[in-house]
Symmetry: C2
Subunit: 191 residues, 2 copies
């Protein structure tokens, strides 16, 4: 038996991520992965486990490597930071995802109902986004940047909801300018 | 050759719709459809065409049978009508879709990148929603219910974006009360 070829685990995982992201889980077979990644089937199994295990690792890598630049929220006036974050989300939809939208949303839509581990990853990501937004809004309210009548948790969920909606609005054909109009209307809810 | 069994075309199409909606396009095979619908394979082909053709007809039926109650917008003050529409969207997410979310969103996520007819249906549905919202907002602005500085098109897209976002927020585990908080924050953008 030939010795398994050495390969760069991270590079191969990134390629698997890109393939799953573009095509989805179901239609991507182990044979597709073997062909696309240029790594033998047994090496793939030995390194990552089966297709589902590889998919879950690709999702985890996606979250680390292709997440939103949340530090944009820090060290800036609230509305400036939020607009930067939301406009970076719009740019990301166009430039990074190439019209594919968020891989976690794909995963949830395709497999979330049947796979608790996929649903857990999607929910954890949403919860983390809301928590980071809420923390910034609590600070802003304490600093007087946000009116005392605002509920930081509800506002944070609303902003995350807006970011989620942008994914589908982009897929419905809205261009960058139209998406930024949506962002500017959303920020009006902060009063 | 046996004469094809008579069957209720609409009832069978609704069953196909429910199966595709729950499981998605790729994993639902013609064999699954034959078994689930209780109709012979040849009868299915003769009546609906191949699996993709059946799927497209199921999507069209979905749009007619499971769409949003847009008439809620009419004959009421703007904000009352919008809140009714958005709360009916929240109810619909919980009660009608059973956590599955919108079938057109599923279709777009799973097949939209590869199938222009699916993308066209998704975009047409989004455009129609925005157009109906915009028409109501234009009337409201003319009647003084909405400030003259508001852009009805941008507001309409924002509201559609909010409704799209609710789908993903619901899937991220938010309950009805949390979704309605999002709706109430969104309506604050109308000033």
């Amino acid at each position: 038996m030939a010795r398994p070829r050495e390969f760069d685990r991270d590079a191969v995982l990134e390629q698997a991520l890109q393939l799953f992201w573009s095509r989805g889980y179901e239609v991507t077979s182990m044979a597709d992965l073997v062909e696309h990644l240029g790594v033998g089937r047994q090496s793939l199994y030995d390194t990552f486990g089966d297709k589902r295990a590889l998919y879950l690792q690709a999702l985890d890598r996606y979250k680390q490597a292709h997440g939103l630049p949340m530090p944009l929220l820090d060290g800036r006036p609230l509305r400036v930071g939020l607009r930067l974050l939301l406009s970076s989300a719009v740019d990301w939809l166009h430039d990074v995802t190439g019209g594919r939208g968020c891989m976690l949303v794909h995963a949830m839509t395709e497999r979330g109902a049947d796979d608790p581990e996929i649903r857990a990853r999607f929910c954890a990501n949403s919860d983390a986004l809301v928590a980071q937004l809420e923390a910034r809004l609590i600070t802003a309210r304490a600093d007087g940047e946000l009116g005392p009548h605002h509920d930081p948790r509800a506002l944070a969920r609303f902003l995350a909801n807006t970011m989620n909606g942008l994914q589908l609005s982009a897929r419905a054909g809205l261009d960058r300018a139209a998406l930024m109009q949506i962002v500017d209307v959303a920020l009006m809810a902060l009063g």
